[in-house]
Protein backbone atom coordinates (compact mmCIF):
# COMPACT_ATOMS: atom_id res chain seq x y z
CA UNK A 1 0.00 0.00 0.00
CA UNK A 2 1.58 3.27 -1.06
CA UNK A 3 0.85 6.75 0.24
CA UNK A 4 -0.58 8.24 -2.93
CA UNK A 5 -3.59 10.15 -4.19
CA UNK A 6 -6.40 10.77 -1.75
CA UNK A 7 -4.77 8.55 0.90
CA UNK A 8 -1.75 10.84 0.94
CA UNK A 9 -3.90 13.96 1.17
CA UNK A 10 -5.93 12.53 4.04
CA UNK A 11 -2.77 11.52 5.91
CA UNK A 12 -1.29 15.00 5.42
CA UNK A 13 -4.44 16.67 6.67
CA UNK A 14 -4.39 14.44 9.74
CA UNK A 15 -0.78 15.30 10.61
CA UNK A 16 0.45 18.32 8.65
CA UNK A 17 3.47 18.77 10.90
CA UNK A 18 5.17 15.49 9.96
CA UNK A 19 8.09 15.85 7.52
CA UNK A 20 8.62 12.08 7.49
CA UNK A 21 5.17 11.75 5.96
CA UNK A 22 6.19 14.27 3.30
CA UNK A 23 9.18 12.11 2.39
CA UNK A 24 7.04 8.98 2.37
CA UNK A 25 4.69 10.57 -0.16
CA UNK A 26 7.59 11.58 -2.39
CA UNK A 27 9.12 8.08 -2.26
CA UNK A 28 7.94 5.73 -4.97
CA UNK A 29 6.82 2.28 -3.83
CA UNK A 30 5.06 1.05 -0.76
CA UNK A 31 4.99 2.55 2.72
CA UNK A 32 6.31 -0.73 4.08
CA UNK A 33 9.30 -0.63 1.77
CA UNK A 34 9.95 2.94 2.91
CA UNK A 35 10.06 1.71 6.50
CA UNK A 36 12.35 -1.17 5.67
CA UNK A 37 14.78 1.04 3.79
CA UNK A 38 14.86 3.59 6.63
CA UNK A 39 15.01 1.16 9.54
CA UNK A 40 16.90 -1.61 7.76
CA UNK A 41 14.67 -4.31 9.23
CA UNK A 42 11.56 -6.05 7.99
CA UNK A 43 8.31 -4.49 9.21
CA UNK A 44 6.97 -6.80 11.92
CA UNK A 45 3.39 -5.59 12.19
CA UNK A 46 0.22 -5.99 10.22
CA UNK A 47 0.35 -4.03 7.00
CA UNK A 48 -2.10 -3.24 4.25
CA UNK A 49 -5.75 -3.88 3.63
CA UNK A 50 -7.02 -7.34 4.43
CA UNK A 51 -8.13 -9.65 1.65
CA UNK A 52 -11.67 -9.74 3.03
CA UNK A 53 -11.88 -5.94 3.00
CA UNK A 54 -10.61 -5.73 -0.58
CA UNK A 55 -13.03 -8.41 -1.68
CA UNK A 56 -16.01 -6.81 0.03
CA UNK A 57 -15.10 -3.39 -1.32
CA UNK A 58 -14.93 -4.77 -4.86
CA UNK A 59 -18.21 -6.69 -4.48
CA UNK A 60 -19.98 -3.66 -3.03
CA UNK A 61 -18.92 -1.54 -6.00
CA UNK A 62 -19.71 -4.27 -8.50
CA UNK A 63 -23.22 -4.63 -7.04
CA UNK A 64 -23.74 -0.89 -6.99
CA UNK A 65 -22.69 -0.48 -10.64
CA UNK A 66 -24.50 -3.55 -11.99
CA UNK A 67 -27.56 -3.13 -14.19
CA UNK A 68 -26.64 0.42 -15.21
CA UNK A 69 -26.10 1.15 -11.51
CA UNK A 70 -29.61 0.14 -10.53
CA UNK A 71 -28.93 0.25 -6.77
CA UNK A 72 -27.31 3.68 -7.04
CA UNK A 73 -30.15 4.99 -9.17
CA UNK A 74 -32.58 3.80 -6.49
CA UNK A 75 -30.43 5.21 -3.68
CA UNK A 76 -30.02 8.67 -5.22
CA UNK A 77 -33.44 8.99 -6.89
CA UNK A 78 -35.11 10.93 -4.09
CA UNK A 79 -32.08 13.19 -3.70
CA UNK A 80 -32.20 13.93 -7.42
CA UNK A 81 -35.97 14.29 -7.34
CA UNK A 82 -36.40 11.71 -10.11
CA UNK A 83 -37.75 8.21 -10.53
CA UNK A 84 -34.92 5.62 -10.46
CA UNK A 85 -35.61 4.69 -14.11
CA UNK A 86 -35.15 8.30 -15.19
CA UNK A 87 -31.75 8.72 -13.57
CA UNK A 88 -29.07 8.80 -16.28
CA UNK A 89 -25.77 7.11 -15.40
CA UNK A 90 -22.40 7.18 -17.12
CA UNK A 91 -19.86 4.60 -15.99
CA UNK A 92 -16.44 5.80 -17.12
CA UNK A 93 -15.03 2.34 -16.52
CA UNK A 94 -17.06 1.32 -19.58
CA UNK A 95 -15.38 4.02 -21.62
CA UNK A 96 -11.90 3.37 -20.39
CA UNK A 97 -11.31 0.56 -17.88
CA UNK A 98 -8.07 0.08 -15.95
CA UNK A 99 -5.99 1.74 -13.25
CA UNK A 100 -2.92 2.71 -15.26
CA UNK A 101 -2.16 6.40 -15.78
CA UNK A 102 -3.26 6.41 -19.42
CA UNK A 103 -6.69 5.11 -18.39
CA UNK A 104 -6.87 7.69 -15.59
CA UNK A 105 -5.96 10.47 -17.99
CA UNK A 106 -8.57 9.29 -20.48
CA UNK A 107 -11.21 9.30 -17.74
CA UNK A 108 -9.99 12.71 -16.58
CA UNK A 109 -10.55 14.04 -20.08
CA UNK A 110 -14.08 12.61 -20.22
CA UNK A 111 -14.85 13.89 -16.70
CA UNK A 112 -13.79 17.39 -17.68
CA UNK A 113 -16.01 17.29 -20.73
CA UNK A 114 -18.98 16.18 -18.65
CA UNK A 115 -18.44 18.86 -15.98
CA UNK A 116 -18.34 21.47 -18.73
CA UNK A 117 -21.40 20.06 -20.52
CA UNK A 118 -23.43 20.24 -17.32
CA UNK A 119 -22.38 23.85 -16.68
CA UNK A 120 -23.27 24.77 -20.26
CA UNK A 121 -26.70 23.21 -19.89
CA UNK A 122 -25.95 20.38 -22.34
CA UNK A 123 -27.30 16.91 -21.56
CA UNK A 124 -25.16 15.35 -18.83
CA UNK A 125 -25.55 12.22 -16.69
CA UNK A 126 -26.99 12.54 -13.20
CA UNK A 127 -24.45 10.11 -11.84
CA UNK A 128 -20.90 9.68 -13.16
CA UNK A 129 -19.26 6.46 -12.01
CA UNK A 130 -15.50 6.33 -11.51
CA UNK A 131 -14.72 9.86 -12.66
CA UNK A 132 -11.15 11.10 -12.47
CA UNK A 133 -10.00 14.41 -11.01
CA UNK A 134 -6.62 15.97 -10.51
CA UNK A 135 -5.32 18.21 -7.75
CA UNK A 136 -2.26 20.19 -8.85
CA UNK A 137 0.60 20.83 -6.42
CA UNK A 138 2.83 22.25 -9.12
CA UNK A 139 5.60 23.12 -9.58
CA UNK A 140 8.12 20.55 -8.36
CA UNK A 141 8.35 16.78 -8.12
CA UNK A 142 4.94 15.17 -7.81
CA UNK A 143 3.22 18.18 -9.34
CA UNK A 144 -0.28 16.72 -8.91
CA UNK A 145 -2.35 14.15 -7.05
CA UNK A 146 -4.83 11.99 -8.89
CA UNK A 147 -8.10 12.05 -6.99
CA UNK A 148 -10.77 9.56 -7.98
CA UNK A 149 -14.12 9.69 -6.20
CA UNK A 150 -16.34 6.68 -6.78
CA UNK A 151 -19.08 8.96 -8.04
CA UNK A 152 -20.04 12.46 -9.06
CA UNK A 153 -23.68 13.33 -8.50
CA UNK A 154 -25.35 16.23 -10.26
CA UNK A 155 -26.73 18.66 -7.72
CA UNK A 156 -30.46 19.15 -8.29
CA UNK A 157 -30.21 22.78 -7.13
CA UNK A 158 -27.63 23.92 -9.67
CA UNK A 159 -25.63 22.44 -12.52
CA UNK A 160 -22.55 21.34 -10.62
CA UNK A 161 -21.55 17.88 -9.49
CA UNK A 162 -20.77 16.78 -5.96
CA UNK A 163 -18.43 13.92 -5.05
CA UNK A 164 -19.75 10.67 -3.64
CA UNK A 165 -17.98 7.68 -2.19
CA UNK A 166 -19.07 4.09 -1.64
CA UNK A 167 -18.07 2.59 1.69
CA UNK A 168 -18.51 -1.13 1.94
CA UNK A 169 -18.26 -1.27 5.70
CA UNK A 170 -21.39 -2.16 7.59
CA UNK A 171 -23.34 0.64 9.22
CA UNK A 172 -26.26 -0.65 11.30
CA UNK A 173 -28.15 2.58 12.00
CA UNK A 174 -25.68 5.45 11.90
CA UNK A 175 -22.80 4.23 14.08
CA UNK A 176 -19.34 4.96 12.74
CA UNK A 177 -16.12 5.14 14.68
CA UNK A 178 -14.63 8.63 15.00
CA UNK A 179 -11.61 7.44 13.02
CA UNK A 180 -13.71 6.20 10.11
CA UNK A 181 -15.82 9.35 10.11
CA UNK A 182 -12.80 11.63 10.03
CA UNK A 183 -11.16 9.58 7.28
CA UNK A 184 -14.17 9.45 4.97
CA UNK A 185 -14.94 13.14 5.46
CA UNK A 186 -11.36 14.08 4.67
CA UNK A 187 -11.57 11.88 1.58
CA UNK A 188 -14.64 13.80 0.50
CA UNK A 189 -12.80 17.01 1.37
CA UNK A 190 -9.94 16.04 -0.97
CA UNK A 191 -12.41 15.09 -3.70
CA UNK A 192 -14.30 18.33 -3.31
CA UNK A 193 -11.12 20.40 -3.43
CA UNK A 194 -10.01 18.57 -6.57
CA UNK A 195 -13.44 19.17 -8.07
CA UNK A 196 -13.15 22.88 -7.24
CA UNK A 197 -9.84 22.93 -9.09
CA UNK A 198 -11.44 21.25 -12.11
CA UNK A 199 -14.25 23.82 -12.20
CA UNK A 200 -11.77 26.60 -11.54
CA UNK A 201 -9.99 25.66 -14.79
CA UNK A 202 -12.89 26.65 -17.00
CA UNK A 203 -15.44 28.51 -14.88
CA UNK A 204 -14.44 30.70 -11.96
CA UNK A 205 -18.07 31.51 -11.22
CA UNK A 206 -19.12 27.97 -10.38
CA UNK A 207 -20.26 27.72 -6.78
CA UNK A 208 -19.73 24.25 -5.40
CA UNK A 209 -21.53 23.53 -2.11
CA UNK A 210 -19.15 22.20 0.56
CA UNK A 211 -20.77 18.82 0.77
CA UNK A 212 -20.28 15.32 -0.48
CA UNK A 213 -22.16 12.06 -0.24
CA UNK A 214 -21.42 8.74 1.37
CA UNK A 215 -23.13 5.46 0.68
CA UNK A 216 -22.55 2.84 3.39
CA UNK A 217 -23.53 -0.79 3.42
CA UNK A 218 -26.50 -2.08 5.39
CA UNK A 219 -25.83 -5.02 7.71
CA UNK A 220 -27.65 -7.40 5.40
CA UNK A 221 -25.42 -8.44 2.55
CA UNK A 222 -24.29 -5.64 0.28
CA UNK A 223 -27.40 -3.48 0.15
CA UNK A 224 -26.56 0.25 0.20
CA UNK A 225 -28.02 2.62 2.81
CA UNK A 226 -29.67 5.84 1.69
CA UNK A 227 -26.85 8.30 0.92
CA UNK A 228 -25.67 10.51 3.80
CA UNK A 229 -25.03 14.08 2.76
CA UNK A 230 -21.88 15.18 4.53
CA UNK A 231 -20.96 18.75 5.38
CA UNK A 232 -17.24 18.80 4.52
CA UNK A 233 -16.26 22.47 4.59
CA UNK A 234 -13.93 21.69 7.49
CA UNK A 235 -12.52 18.71 5.60
CA UNK A 236 -11.74 20.83 2.53
CA UNK A 237 -9.87 23.32 4.67
CA UNK A 238 -7.97 20.56 6.46
CA UNK A 239 -6.89 19.16 3.07
CA UNK A 240 -5.71 22.60 1.96
CA UNK A 241 -3.63 22.86 5.12
CA UNK A 242 -2.27 19.38 4.39
CA UNK A 243 -1.27 20.34 0.85
CA UNK A 244 0.40 23.53 2.05
CA UNK A 245 2.33 21.38 4.54
CA UNK A 246 3.29 18.96 1.77
CA UNK A 247 4.71 21.81 -0.29
CA UNK A 248 6.88 22.81 2.68
CA UNK A 249 7.97 19.22 3.33
CA UNK A 250 8.71 18.70 -0.37
CA UNK A 251 10.91 21.78 -0.38
CA UNK A 252 12.76 20.63 2.72
CA UNK A 253 13.27 17.09 1.44
CA UNK A 254 14.51 18.37 -1.91
CA UNK A 255 16.93 20.78 -0.25
CA UNK A 256 18.37 17.96 1.82
CA UNK A 257 18.46 15.05 -0.59
CA UNK A 258 20.24 16.68 -3.52
CA UNK A 259 18.79 14.20 -5.98
CA UNK A 260 19.02 11.14 -3.74
CA UNK A 261 15.94 9.14 -2.82
CA UNK A 262 13.76 10.82 -0.18
CA UNK A 263 14.16 8.01 2.39
CA UNK A 264 17.88 8.78 2.61
CA UNK A 265 17.29 12.09 4.41
CA UNK A 266 14.72 10.90 6.94
CA UNK A 267 17.18 11.21 9.84
CA UNK A 268 17.36 14.95 9.18
CA UNK A 269 13.60 15.41 9.00
CA UNK A 270 11.29 16.38 11.84
CA UNK A 271 8.67 13.79 12.71
CA UNK A 272 5.49 14.86 14.42
CA UNK A 273 4.44 11.83 16.41
CA UNK A 274 0.87 11.78 17.71
CA UNK A 275 -1.14 8.91 19.19
CA UNK A 276 -3.17 8.44 16.03
CA UNK A 277 0.03 7.61 14.11
CA UNK A 278 -0.01 4.24 15.91
CA UNK A 279 -3.12 3.30 13.92
CA UNK A 280 -2.21 4.85 10.60
CA UNK A 281 1.52 4.93 9.90
CA UNK A 282 4.25 2.28 9.52
CA UNK A 283 6.80 4.76 10.85
CA UNK A 284 4.92 5.31 14.13
CA UNK A 285 7.16 3.12 16.30
CA UNK A 286 10.28 4.67 14.79
CA UNK A 287 9.05 8.22 15.31
CA UNK A 288 7.88 7.35 18.80
CA UNK A 289 11.46 6.62 19.79
CA UNK A 290 11.97 10.38 19.66
CA UNK A 291 9.57 10.83 22.58
CA UNK A 292 10.45 7.62 24.41
CA UNK A 293 11.13 8.25 28.10
CA UNK A 294 9.50 11.69 27.80
CA UNK A 295 5.99 12.71 28.84
CA UNK A 296 4.79 12.38 25.24
CA UNK A 297 5.24 8.63 25.62
CA UNK A 298 2.14 8.73 27.84
CA UNK A 299 0.06 10.18 25.00
CA UNK A 300 -0.72 13.47 23.29
CA UNK A 301 -2.46 14.97 26.31
CA UNK A 302 0.40 14.15 28.68
CA UNK A 303 2.76 15.66 26.12
CA UNK A 304 0.81 18.91 26.29
CA UNK A 305 0.47 18.87 30.10
CA UNK A 306 4.11 18.15 30.91
CA UNK A 307 5.72 19.47 27.73
CA UNK A 308 8.95 17.67 26.90
CA UNK A 309 9.68 16.76 30.52
CA UNK A 310 11.59 13.47 30.86
CA UNK A 311 9.61 10.84 32.76
CA UNK A 312 12.62 10.27 35.01
CA UNK A 313 12.39 13.93 35.99
CA UNK A 314 8.68 13.57 36.78
CA UNK A 315 9.52 10.52 38.93
CA UNK A 316 12.25 12.52 40.66
CA UNK A 317 9.83 15.36 41.40
CA UNK A 318 7.46 12.79 42.90
CA UNK A 319 10.05 11.08 45.11
CA UNK A 320 11.71 14.34 46.06
CA UNK A 321 15.04 13.29 44.49
CA UNK A 322 14.79 16.24 42.10
CA UNK A 323 14.16 19.81 43.19
CA UNK A 324 11.48 21.62 41.15
CA UNK A 325 13.06 24.15 38.81
CA UNK A 326 10.08 26.51 38.59
CA UNK A 327 6.51 27.06 39.78
CA UNK A 328 5.11 24.73 37.15
CA UNK A 329 7.37 21.89 38.34
CA UNK A 330 6.67 22.78 41.96
CA UNK A 331 2.95 22.40 41.35
CA UNK A 332 3.42 19.14 39.46
CA UNK A 333 5.64 17.83 42.27
CA UNK A 334 3.07 18.74 44.90
CA UNK A 335 0.21 17.04 43.07
CA UNK A 336 2.31 13.95 42.32
CA UNK A 337 3.34 13.61 45.95
CA UNK A 338 -0.29 13.91 47.08
CA UNK A 339 -1.41 11.38 44.50
CA UNK A 340 1.36 8.93 45.43
CA UNK A 341 0.51 9.32 49.10
CA UNK A 342 -3.21 8.79 48.46
CA UNK A 343 -2.61 5.60 46.49
CA UNK A 344 -0.06 4.13 48.83
CA UNK A 345 -2.63 4.60 51.58
CA UNK A 346 -5.27 2.88 49.47
CA UNK A 347 -2.87 0.05 48.80
CA UNK A 348 -2.17 -0.34 52.50
CA UNK A 349 -5.89 -0.24 53.21
Amino acid sequence: MSVKGTTALVRLASNPGCEILGAMILEPGSEKRFYERVVGEPYDREFGERQSSKRRGAQFEQNAYAGDARLLREAFASHLGLAPDDVVVRNLLDDFPGTKDDARIARLSITRTLLKDAREGKPAPHIIIQPQLMLPTKPGPKPYFFVAPDLLILSPQNDVYLPGDLKSFVVRENELSKGDLARVRLQLGAQLLALMHEYDRFDKTAIIPASGMLVFSKPNGLAPHAPRIEDVAGGVEAIRIGIAAFLRHRQRVNDLRAGAEPYTVVADLQPHFQDSCLNTCVMAQWCRQRVAEAAGDLGDVAGRVLGDMELSRAFGLMTGDIEPADDHERLIARHLVDLAEQHSIERAA
Binding site: A66, G67, D68, R70, D85, V88, V89, R90, N91, L93, D94, D95, F96, P97, G98, I105, A106, L108, S109, I110, R112, T113, D117, P123, P125, M134, P136, T137, K138, P139, P143, Y144, L193, M196, H197, Y199, D200, V236, R240, I243, L247
Partner: protein, 250 residues
Protein backbone atom coordinates in the same frame (compact mmCIF):
# COMPACT_ATOMS: atom_id res chain seq x y z
CA UNK B 1 5.38 -19.36 24.13
CA UNK B 2 3.09 -22.28 23.27
CA UNK B 3 1.51 -19.99 20.66
CA UNK B 4 4.85 -19.61 18.82
CA UNK B 5 5.33 -23.40 18.80
CA UNK B 6 1.87 -23.86 17.44
CA UNK B 7 2.46 -21.24 14.76
CA UNK B 8 5.55 -23.12 13.67
CA UNK B 9 3.52 -26.32 13.39
CA UNK B 10 0.94 -24.46 11.34
CA UNK B 11 3.61 -23.12 9.03
CA UNK B 12 4.84 -26.66 8.35
CA UNK B 13 1.35 -27.89 7.55
CA UNK B 14 0.86 -24.80 5.44
CA UNK B 15 3.98 -25.58 3.42
CA UNK B 16 2.78 -29.14 2.87
CA UNK B 17 -0.54 -27.83 1.65
CA UNK B 18 1.14 -25.40 -0.70
CA UNK B 19 3.09 -28.25 -2.28
CA UNK B 20 -0.08 -30.29 -2.76
CA UNK B 21 -1.76 -27.19 -4.15
CA UNK B 22 0.98 -26.57 -6.70
CA UNK B 23 0.69 -30.15 -7.99
CA UNK B 24 -3.05 -29.92 -8.13
CA UNK B 25 -3.01 -26.62 -10.01
CA UNK B 26 -0.60 -28.13 -12.56
CA UNK B 27 -2.95 -31.06 -13.15
CA UNK B 28 -5.95 -28.77 -13.30
CA UNK B 29 -4.29 -26.44 -15.81
CA UNK B 30 -3.41 -29.39 -18.08
CA UNK B 31 -6.91 -30.78 -17.79
CA UNK B 32 -8.50 -27.44 -18.64
CA UNK B 33 -6.21 -26.89 -21.61
CA UNK B 34 -7.11 -30.29 -23.01
CA UNK B 35 -10.78 -29.70 -22.33
CA UNK B 36 -10.93 -26.28 -24.00
CA UNK B 37 -9.08 -27.63 -27.02
CA UNK B 38 -11.59 -30.43 -27.19
CA UNK B 39 -14.59 -28.14 -26.85
CA UNK B 40 -13.40 -25.18 -28.88
CA UNK B 41 -10.79 -26.71 -31.08
CA UNK B 42 -8.56 -24.01 -29.53
CA UNK B 43 -10.52 -21.23 -31.19
CA UNK B 44 -9.05 -17.78 -30.54
CA UNK B 45 -10.95 -15.34 -28.32
CA UNK B 46 -11.48 -12.99 -31.26
CA UNK B 47 -13.45 -15.56 -33.20
CA UNK B 48 -15.54 -16.53 -30.21
CA UNK B 49 -16.40 -12.91 -29.45
CA UNK B 50 -17.37 -12.28 -33.08
CA UNK B 51 -19.63 -15.35 -32.97
CA UNK B 52 -21.28 -14.34 -29.72
CA UNK B 53 -21.88 -10.82 -31.03
CA UNK B 54 -23.35 -12.21 -34.22
CA UNK B 55 -25.58 -14.49 -32.20
CA UNK B 56 -26.69 -11.69 -29.83
CA UNK B 57 -27.13 -9.10 -32.58
CA UNK B 58 -26.32 -6.27 -30.16
CA UNK B 59 -23.12 -4.82 -28.68
CA UNK B 60 -22.06 -6.72 -25.56
CA UNK B 61 -20.11 -5.62 -22.50
CA UNK B 62 -16.78 -7.39 -21.94
CA UNK B 63 -17.81 -8.24 -18.37
CA UNK B 64 -20.82 -10.11 -19.68
CA UNK B 65 -18.78 -11.74 -22.44
CA UNK B 66 -16.26 -12.96 -19.87
CA UNK B 67 -18.96 -14.36 -17.62
CA UNK B 68 -20.55 -16.18 -20.57
CA UNK B 69 -17.34 -17.70 -21.93
CA UNK B 70 -17.05 -20.08 -19.00
CA UNK B 71 -20.51 -21.68 -19.07
CA UNK B 72 -20.74 -21.63 -22.85
CA UNK B 73 -17.19 -22.43 -23.93
CA UNK B 74 -15.47 -23.54 -20.72
CA UNK B 75 -12.94 -20.75 -21.02
CA UNK B 76 -11.80 -18.39 -18.27
CA UNK B 77 -10.97 -15.02 -19.79
CA UNK B 78 -9.09 -12.53 -17.61
CA UNK B 79 -10.50 -9.02 -18.06
CA UNK B 80 -7.10 -7.68 -19.17
CA UNK B 81 -7.31 -10.01 -22.18
CA UNK B 82 -9.92 -7.71 -23.73
CA UNK B 83 -7.50 -4.78 -23.58
CA UNK B 84 -4.96 -6.63 -25.71
CA UNK B 85 -7.74 -7.85 -27.99
CA UNK B 86 -8.67 -4.23 -28.67
CA UNK B 87 -5.09 -3.27 -29.47
CA UNK B 88 -4.58 -6.32 -31.71
CA UNK B 89 -7.69 -5.50 -33.65
CA UNK B 90 -6.55 -1.92 -34.31
CA UNK B 91 -3.13 -3.17 -35.40
CA UNK B 92 -4.66 -5.65 -37.75
CA UNK B 93 -6.92 -2.95 -39.20
CA UNK B 94 -3.85 -0.79 -39.84
CA UNK B 95 -1.94 -3.71 -41.43
CA UNK B 96 -1.96 -4.32 -45.17
CA UNK B 97 -4.12 -7.46 -44.93
CA UNK B 98 -7.74 -6.42 -44.54
CA UNK B 99 -10.23 -8.71 -42.81
CA UNK B 100 -13.86 -9.24 -43.80
CA UNK B 101 -15.06 -8.19 -40.34
CA UNK B 102 -13.45 -6.49 -37.39
CA UNK B 103 -14.22 -6.40 -33.72
CA UNK B 104 -14.82 -2.80 -32.82
CA UNK B 105 -16.19 -0.63 -30.02
CA UNK B 106 -19.32 1.34 -29.42
CA UNK B 107 -18.91 5.11 -29.81
CA UNK B 108 -20.21 7.94 -27.62
CA UNK B 109 -23.08 9.76 -29.32
CA UNK B 110 -21.63 13.24 -28.82
CA UNK B 111 -17.88 12.87 -29.26
CA UNK B 112 -17.61 9.61 -31.14
CA UNK B 113 -15.11 8.29 -28.65
CA UNK B 114 -14.68 4.57 -28.05
CA UNK B 115 -16.57 2.97 -25.18
CA UNK B 116 -14.04 0.21 -24.77
CA UNK B 117 -16.05 -2.18 -22.66
CA UNK B 118 -18.77 -2.44 -25.29
CA UNK B 119 -17.92 -4.63 -28.27
CA UNK B 120 -19.54 -4.68 -31.67
CA UNK B 121 -18.91 -5.91 -35.23
CA UNK B 122 -17.69 -3.71 -38.04
CA UNK B 123 -20.35 -5.16 -40.36
CA UNK B 124 -23.13 -3.61 -38.26
CA UNK B 125 -24.55 -0.22 -39.13
CA UNK B 126 -22.92 2.62 -37.21
CA UNK B 127 -26.22 3.58 -35.53
CA UNK B 128 -26.33 0.21 -33.76
CA UNK B 129 -22.89 0.92 -32.26
CA UNK B 130 -23.62 4.36 -30.83
CA UNK B 131 -24.02 4.90 -27.10
CA UNK B 132 -26.62 7.54 -26.25
CA UNK B 133 -27.40 8.63 -22.67
CA UNK B 134 -29.72 5.69 -22.14
CA UNK B 135 -27.96 3.15 -24.34
CA UNK B 136 -25.94 1.79 -21.42
CA UNK B 137 -29.21 0.74 -19.78
CA UNK B 138 -30.72 -0.61 -23.00
CA UNK B 139 -27.61 -2.60 -23.89
CA UNK B 140 -27.43 -4.01 -20.39
CA UNK B 141 -31.07 -5.07 -20.64
CA UNK B 142 -30.60 -6.57 -24.11
CA UNK B 143 -27.53 -8.42 -22.89
CA UNK B 144 -29.48 -9.67 -19.90
CA UNK B 145 -32.38 -10.74 -22.09
CA UNK B 146 -30.04 -12.53 -24.45
CA UNK B 147 -28.31 -14.35 -21.58
CA UNK B 148 -31.66 -15.48 -20.23
CA UNK B 149 -32.67 -16.61 -23.73
CA UNK B 150 -29.46 -18.64 -23.99
CA UNK B 151 -30.10 -20.25 -20.62
CA UNK B 152 -33.66 -21.05 -21.65
CA UNK B 153 -32.50 -22.56 -24.94
CA UNK B 154 -30.01 -24.76 -23.11
CA UNK B 155 -32.64 -25.71 -20.57
CA UNK B 156 -34.98 -26.72 -23.40
CA UNK B 157 -32.20 -28.68 -25.03
CA UNK B 158 -32.23 -26.36 -28.07
CA UNK B 159 -28.53 -25.66 -27.70
CA UNK B 160 -25.58 -26.99 -25.79
CA UNK B 161 -23.46 -25.30 -23.14
CA UNK B 162 -20.30 -26.37 -21.43
CA UNK B 163 -21.83 -25.76 -18.00
CA UNK B 164 -25.60 -25.22 -18.09
CA UNK B 165 -25.85 -24.78 -14.31
CA UNK B 166 -23.43 -21.84 -14.27
CA UNK B 167 -25.20 -20.38 -17.30
CA UNK B 168 -28.43 -20.41 -15.29
CA UNK B 169 -26.74 -18.53 -12.46
CA UNK B 170 -25.28 -15.97 -14.85
CA UNK B 171 -28.81 -15.48 -16.23
CA UNK B 172 -30.22 -15.17 -12.69
CA UNK B 173 -27.53 -12.59 -11.83
CA UNK B 174 -28.49 -10.57 -14.89
CA UNK B 175 -32.16 -10.74 -13.86
CA UNK B 176 -31.25 -9.64 -10.33
CA UNK B 177 -29.15 -6.77 -11.68
CA UNK B 178 -32.16 -5.71 -13.73
CA UNK B 179 -34.11 -5.48 -10.49
CA UNK B 180 -36.27 -8.55 -11.05
CA UNK B 181 -37.37 -10.90 -8.29
CA UNK B 182 -34.97 -13.85 -8.18
CA UNK B 183 -35.50 -16.87 -5.97
CA UNK B 184 -32.70 -19.28 -5.29
CA UNK B 185 -32.79 -22.27 -7.67
CA UNK B 186 -35.77 -20.92 -9.67
CA UNK B 187 -35.38 -19.71 -13.26
CA UNK B 188 -38.65 -18.26 -14.63
CA UNK B 189 -37.05 -17.34 -17.98
CA UNK B 190 -40.23 -16.16 -19.70
CA UNK B 191 -41.37 -13.91 -16.82
CA UNK B 192 -37.92 -12.36 -16.67
CA UNK B 193 -37.86 -11.76 -20.39
CA UNK B 194 -41.33 -10.22 -20.41
CA UNK B 195 -40.38 -7.71 -17.71
CA UNK B 196 -37.07 -6.82 -19.35
CA UNK B 197 -38.71 -6.24 -22.73
CA UNK B 198 -41.24 -3.91 -21.15
CA UNK B 199 -38.43 -1.69 -19.82
CA UNK B 200 -36.58 -1.80 -23.14
CA UNK B 201 -39.72 -0.66 -24.93
CA UNK B 202 -40.03 2.27 -22.53
CA UNK B 203 -36.71 3.79 -23.55
CA UNK B 204 -36.08 2.05 -26.86
CA UNK B 205 -37.52 4.57 -29.32
CA UNK B 206 -35.89 7.64 -27.80
CA UNK B 207 -32.57 5.81 -27.65
CA UNK B 208 -32.83 4.66 -31.25
CA UNK B 209 -33.62 8.19 -32.41
CA UNK B 210 -30.58 9.59 -30.55
CA UNK B 211 -28.32 6.94 -32.03
CA UNK B 212 -29.53 7.38 -35.59
CA UNK B 213 -29.20 11.15 -35.43
CA UNK B 214 -25.72 10.85 -33.97
CA UNK B 215 -24.72 8.23 -36.57
CA UNK B 216 -25.50 10.66 -39.37
CA UNK B 217 -23.28 13.33 -37.83
CA UNK B 218 -20.44 11.03 -36.84
CA UNK B 219 -20.30 9.21 -40.18
CA UNK B 220 -19.83 12.61 -41.80
CA UNK B 221 -17.04 13.67 -39.47
CA UNK B 222 -15.16 10.53 -38.49
CA UNK B 223 -12.74 8.57 -40.65
CA UNK B 224 -13.62 4.91 -41.34
CA UNK B 225 -11.04 3.87 -38.79
CA UNK B 226 -12.40 6.21 -36.13
CA UNK B 227 -15.89 4.96 -36.84
CA UNK B 228 -14.64 1.56 -35.64
CA UNK B 229 -12.19 2.41 -32.87
CA UNK B 230 -13.30 5.85 -31.85
CA UNK B 231 -12.07 9.37 -32.32
CA UNK B 232 -8.88 10.42 -30.52
CA UNK B 233 -9.22 11.70 -26.95
CA UNK B 234 -8.43 15.42 -26.59
CA UNK B 235 -4.97 15.96 -25.11
CA UNK B 236 -4.79 16.52 -21.35
CA UNK B 237 -2.08 18.86 -20.19
CA UNK B 238 -0.63 17.69 -16.87
CA UNK B 239 0.52 20.34 -14.39
CA UNK B 240 4.16 21.20 -13.89
CA UNK B 241 4.55 24.48 -15.65
CA UNK B 242 2.74 27.05 -13.54
CA UNK B 243 4.66 29.27 -11.16
CA UNK B 244 3.11 28.31 -7.84
CA UNK B 245 0.34 26.34 -6.25
CA UNK B 246 -2.88 28.19 -5.70
CA UNK B 247 -5.92 26.69 -4.13
CA UNK B 248 -9.11 27.02 -6.11
CA UNK B 249 -10.86 28.12 -2.95
CA UNK B 250 -8.54 31.02 -2.32
Amino acid sequence: MSEEIDIEALKLQEAALQRQLAELREKLAKAEKGKSRASEGGRPLRAMVLDLLAEAGYPLNSLLLASLMRPLRGRDIPSTRFGTLSNDEMKSYDSSRPRPVYLCHCLTYDQGQAVKRFWARSDWPLASRIMGPMSGRILFLRGAAWTITLARAVDRGERSADNPEILNYVAADQARDAGLAVKRGEFPYDDWLAEIHMTIERFGDEDRATREKSAELLSAHLSDRDQLFGSRQPLVSLPGSSAAWRSAVE
